[in-house]
Symmetry: C2
Subunit: 84 residues, 2 copies
């Protein structure tokens, strides 16, 4: 595995992991008022398209990170709609 792919994998791990503290905070506080629903809806659609892009262009870091990010981002959208 070349060093460019390794940087991509670290980048993907970080952007994906970043959702986790937000998911945890929502789970703990049930508070989503200051989150923008538009942000997370557009982000979720964008992440889905990145996933398609990654599959078509066969770029492993893009596929891996966006699969998990899609799950987290969808969860935040659902919680935002639930808690308002």
């Amino acid at each position: 595995m070349d060093y460019i792919t390794i940087i991509g994998l670290i980048a993907g791990a970080l952007t994906t992991a970043s959702f986790f503290p937000q998911v945890l905070q929502i789970y703990r506080t049930k508070q989503t008022k200051d989150l923008s629903l538009s942000m997370f809806i557009i982000l979720t659609i964008g992440i889905f398209l990145w996933l398609i892009y990654g599959i078509l262009s066969k770029t492993l870091p893009v596929v891996m990170s966006n699969t998990i990010a899609f799950v987290f981002s969808s969860y935040i959208v659902i919680m935002k709609i639930k808690y308002g």
Copy 2:
């Protein structure tokens, strides 16, 4: 430009544009309580690494979208620290 790159550009446009409603909401409300500081710090570092990855792998959609996303994400981190 092939259709895979076009999908990547749309994906990049969406994930980048997604920050905009959140930036606007913070600007309007000055409220950041429900945002996770850890999320946006980790996200900003991750976006920076995606930018490096995009430059090294010469993938245009990755470079373009992550440059703008880096600015927006940094703004959210600064506002979160400012408004707490």
